[in-house]
Every structure is written in structure tokens, then in C-alpha cells.
Amino acid sequence: MENNEFVIVDNREILIENELNLLELIRKANIELPTFCYHSDLSVYGACRLCIVDIEGMGIVTSCSTVPTAGMKVKTNTAELRKMRKMYLELLLANHHQSCTTCLKSDSCKLQDLASRMGVNEVRFKMSEVKMKIDDSCPSIVRDPNKCILCGDCVRACHEIQGIGAIDFINRGSGTTVAPAFNKELKEVDCVYCGLCASVCPTGAITVKQEIDNVWQAINDEKKIVVAQIAPAVRVAIGELFGFDAGILTTGKMVAALKMIGFDKVFDTSFAADLTVFEETNEFLKRRESGKKLPQFTSCCPGWVKYVEQYYSDLLDNLSSCKSPQQMFGAIAKDTLPESYGIDRADLFVVSIMPCSAKKFEAKRPEFNKDGQSDVDAVITTQELGRMIKQAGIQFANILPESLDMPLGFKTGAGVIFGTSGGVSEAVLRYASEKITGIKSDSPDFVEVRGNEGIHVKTVKIGGVELKLAIVSGLKNAGKIAQQVRNGECDYDFIEVMACPGGCVSGAGQPVSSDSKARNLRKQGLYQADKTLQLHKSQDNPYVNKCYQDHLGQVNGPEAHRLLHTKYRSRKRFNDSSFSVFNNPVNEKLQVCICVGTSCYLRGSQKLMQKLIEYVRDNGLEDKVDVRATFCFENCDKGPSVKVGQIEHSKCTYEMLVAEMNKQLSKIVV
């Protein structure tokens, strides 16, 4: 059916084409209405009031929450609207800690931008003097509630896209802030450090933690050899900070800039991605042969790994045991480079340049630390590298490109496409297809696994083998798939998960972009980079093959396992304590703690507890036994977990529990 219904926007007819709200329609008229709280990926909130328009017969309404209807007459720029918008901004600024000159977000702050656009050149209201505590407890993200304008973008992003809800509004009225549960610090709650909140925050209220100073310090230390590894997604985004379009490949300029800054060697995380393909594909094919631990989940994304550890610890065995490319690089670099440079291991300083905030957390995990030294010493984001380049005064646009160093700087196209959702799967397929069929292929691409959906399901036929893949981005989507796996409702062989929508190209460390356009351009940039490289399959990387010959031995062999694989653990969501079920004073009593955390709860710990309470009561043991409900012994995959005195029991049944309790009680009596 032909649609010729129009809305009149500032005296021009604009066609209605399935726009969900007036704001999107007005954008079509090339008018950029100011807004803080409207994001096309998130639900409509209507809190910031800046996108107000004047509609004939309706008066002044927010365009984001108004559905366009035929014949609507809309004015977007009346004197009254301008005055109101200006007032809203003034009020926001009066509540805002205006430390703009020292604020990290200064170059991309939406509040600053809109205040300037709307002509706010003074704030007539008294500044709020209450100072709230800055939360820099976790390695990835810093929350400064003094700069928050309560637009709620972060709250909705965490809830709606990641399905976590680590932060929410607390208190009310003038006391309202955004904070984690119970006003705890981020490190104490279930945040996975993906940084999506920081990406959508229009001000400097949530930012990615900076490590630039550590890197400068290492560079200035003459004893240290400082090497960089550049993640795939960085090369198609850093140019945006220096006037290039999104998706333009600037690897060579980046290498030159890093050398000018003082890095001794510049390598490529894509080398380690090729290495990951060797390890992960062989691990997958072995699992497929034995039919065990399937489907195999990818483990490149540290946000996803923490998510599984917290919510799906029963699926930890399904996670590939491969370290992420960042950590594989760190392990190989620290194991091989000191010898070739003739230095101590302690004098090699490995810096990762990542599009990601969670990578900072990953690098600090104890699993990736040998004798007190991390495999990766510092992780800086694309934005931080941009800042370092600017600090050094380097004219990025004008400098001539240089080449990456060997051998850890050599990669194939397969290692480069890791930076986008679907890339890891395609790289694995390029390896698996030759391994399965035994035939060298001239057309390595598997374009069918490239897609923009959050959940992309494809069955790929290789030789006579059918592989069912799910490619997932966004943790809410990942949670849906993980739940299907837990319930045994799906038959996937391989599941790729990236926490950020679209994969690493839209990570929290990337330059700020307000829409998905930049994400798509960066993605295309990566596929283009793959096209222009000579090699496209990880197995063709001569330096990775040499690395196996010289250092690692067999793929999946013992040395490869020592350096390139890791272990995961159940992780509790909250740091919290227990509560007592009976109300008697506690002294000299046998403590029985029953976990009522999510996993144990789902495995029936509540019934177990109720039966125990009845038993204790029926046998008159209330003054001898203290029954406590607790949260999480970090043993979730073997729940229900209980602790009787000092003894822990997993997969505990009622009979086991009563027997253990009576055993210990008899000892106390004696």
C-alpha cells in the first residue's frame, strides 16, 4: 500500500515512513534536535525534555515520546522552545560539577556541546555544593556522580542491552543518583566492566579508567623495553580522533606515532588472534569428535567471560579454555621476547591498545600473572592512545605510515576480522574447513556468518559436515542463548559471544559515536583490511607456524596449554553476608549456612533450608544450631552448597545435611 501521509515540520512536508517517534522523523528533515536521553537502541525515556517541539493543537511535547500522525503541524524552533531548552540546560549545569577543563569527556561532552549550541553563556542559579564520592574501585570504570545529569542512558543500556542492571536510580527527588545496588562500589557488584554505560554517558559521569601515566612512566624508564600490541578494532577507529572517517585504516600511522612516542617495538594482537584460531579450532574439533562439552563458547571477550562466571558457572566447561588474543600475546611476548632482546623478564613492559574497558580487568586477573608480574602490564584504549598522541603533539594526519615489527606483528586477515561480531567464527571456519576437507581453498570467505543481528544463527556445510553456529553480541542476547544451552533446548556446535553490540568495533574504549553508523563503517573497514592482506587464513601465517616449531610444539600440546590456555571459576555476584534464620543470640552454636544465591536457589536450596528448619525445630535443636541463609560459596556449578561448621558440602541433599549436622553435634556434646 502506498503511503503518502505527511507531517509538517517547520512548514515543510516530511513523509511518514514507519518512524516510531517524531524525533526520528524530524531528523529526516535534517534537523538535529538536542537530546540527552534518546538513543535509538534503547527504550524511550523522555526525561531530559530537550527534544521538545510545539505541535498545533497539542502544545509543547517531547518529540521522542510522540508518535507521528498524518497532518501534524510541528514547530521545532520557536522563541518559547529555545527559552525552555536554555533553561533546562542552565538547571542541569547548576547541578553539575563543572570541572570541564580537567574532565576526560571534555572533547566529546554532550552537555558542553548542547550548552554551547543553545547559547547558554551564563548559569543564573546557585551551584549545588554537595560533593558525592567518586567510585574508582574497579580496574575498568570510574563513576563520578557529581557530573551525572540523570538522563538514565547508562541504566537502560545496562538493563536493556546487557540484561544485567548493575546500576539503577537510587533515592528520590534532589537526592537521586545512579548507583549500584545498596550504594556499593562497582567492584563489589555484578558489573562485567563492558563499559557500555560509559559509551552512552553524555557527560563525564561514567568514564573508562585511565592508565596513560603508567605507560609514560615505563617509556621514560630507560631500563625498560616497551612493546605495544594493537587490537584489530583500534586501527579502523583511531583516525576518527584526528579527522578521518570511521572505518579508515590507519595502522601504519599508528605504528609511526607509537614509535615517535617512544615505544621500542609495535606488534599486532591479530598475530595472537591467528594463534587463537589454531588453538580454539583444534579444541573445538576435538570436542566435536568426542561429543563432549558442546556447544563450545568463545572466550575472547572478558566481559562475556565474567558474565558466565557470575551467572552461568555450570557452563564454564563449555567455554573455550583458550586465553583471549590479548593474553596469548602477553604470555608469548613475556616468554620469548626477553631472551631475544637479552633483557630480564621484569624489564619488558607490554602495553595493549584495546577498544575495550573490560580488557583492563582481564589483564589484572591473577590467572595472567606470573611471580607478581602481569603478562600485560598496561591496557590503554583507543581514546587513551589518541590522547597520548595529542600530548606528544604529533600531527597524526600528516605523519607517514610505518610497518609493524616482526615477528609478532605479522598477521593474516583472519586475525584482523576478530574485531567485529562474526569475525572469530569466520576465522575459525576458514581454519576448520581446510582441516576437515584436507583441501586448500582459494575462496576463504564465509560471508554467511556476517550479520548485524544480535543473534545470528547459521548452519555451515563443510565437506559432509554440518556445523550449527550462533553468533551473538550484547549480553542480554548471550543470556538468552546460554539459558537455551542450560535447558538443553538447542543443538549449536559453536557459539561466538561479544559483550558489545556488533563486537569490539563498538567497544567502550573507542571514540564516542552517537549512532550505529560508525560501528558499521568500522566493521566494513576490518573486512576491507582483510581483503587487502596477502593471507586470509590463520593456518597460512608463517610466523605463527614458526612459533609452534620454536616455542610451543604441538597445537593444543602441553606447552601450548601452559602458555595459551586458562581456567575459569565461579564468581559471586555480590559481596555480602549471611542472615540468621532463628532469632536466638549466637554463641557456641553449630553454624549451618545454606547458600540461597541464584544457582543454589535454582537447585532447590530453599526447600532444603525449609526442611532443615523443620527438623531443627522438631528436634528442639534451636539453641544448638544456628541456621543461616548465605550468598554464594563460589561453587555454583555444584549447588546446592552448604557449610556445616567448617565443612563444606556440594550437591547437598537433605539426608547428607542432617547426617553431617548430627555428626558434628555429637562431637560438641562429647
Binding site: R172, A181, V189
Partner: protein, 170 residues
Amino acid sequence: MQETKCKCGGNESARKFEKVCHILDSHSREKNKLIPILQEIQAEYRYLPEEVMTFVATCLDLSPARVYGVASFYANFALKPKGKHVVHVCDGTACHVKGSEDIKDALQKRLGLTDDKSTTEDMLFTLEPVSCLGACGLAPVITIDNKVYGQLTPADAVRLIDEVIAKEAE
């Protein structure tokens, strides 16, 4: 391990955990019943312990941050244990004009409390300012355990508290 026990003073084995489960079940564990669930839990515990809120979030498939967000929004939900006797000092317009500040100061002094510390060490009293008790004709007004006392002087208010303390001592 931190203790967060109910301080309601009951001597019989308080069946708190069962009670929470019972409350959840009586609302079919529906997440849109969060507010009535929290109200009933508060009626049982006299406040909302953190651990219980986490448990409720788990059972209702909500994030603990969301449950805490709701609990901290409403002034009627208490996030800290309350004393045995709850004293409300009205600071609505009428009471304010009639000197409710002085009453609050006198009571705080008598009980050793401040604006940041509203419950006594012995868990006997909680003193809270409220916006309006709806008894403006009797201003200034306080309530002790929901019983209204009007037209008070600071000395009257302190005497009322002394009476409660004396009764508790018996």
C-alpha cells in the same frame, strides 16, 4: 561475618526466612508485586535487610540494583534497623512555624542522636522528622509509636520520652 538480625525483641524462634518465602509465594513471586512484597517484609523485620533484598531480587528475577532503587525511593521503606519505639517529629509548615525544630533538637539531645544518626545504640528509639502528620491544628505534633501528641513544648516532648524509658526499665 556481619550479623543483620532482627531486633524486634521477640523471644520465640523468629521464622524469618520461611516468612520471606511465604510472603513471596503469597504474591506468586511476580516481579510487579515487588512493592507489596517489600511492605510485608518490612512489617516482619521492621526494616529491609540488604541480604533479604538480594534474596527477593533473586526470587523475582530482578537485579538487586532495581530492588534497592525501589526500596530507597519510598521514604516509608527503612534500609536500616529501627528502634523498638519510633518517634516522628512533624516538620510540616504549621509545626515548623510553631517551633518543631526546638522539639527535634531537645529530643535529639535527650536521646544522643543527630541528623545523621537516627537510632539509639540500645535500639530503643528511632527519631525521624516527617513532612506532615496531617494534624496541623494540634501543632507542634509528634507521634510515638503512631500515637499522636499535640501542642507540645520541648520539655513536654522530653517528658513523654522519659515516660517510655521509665516503662522500659520496669
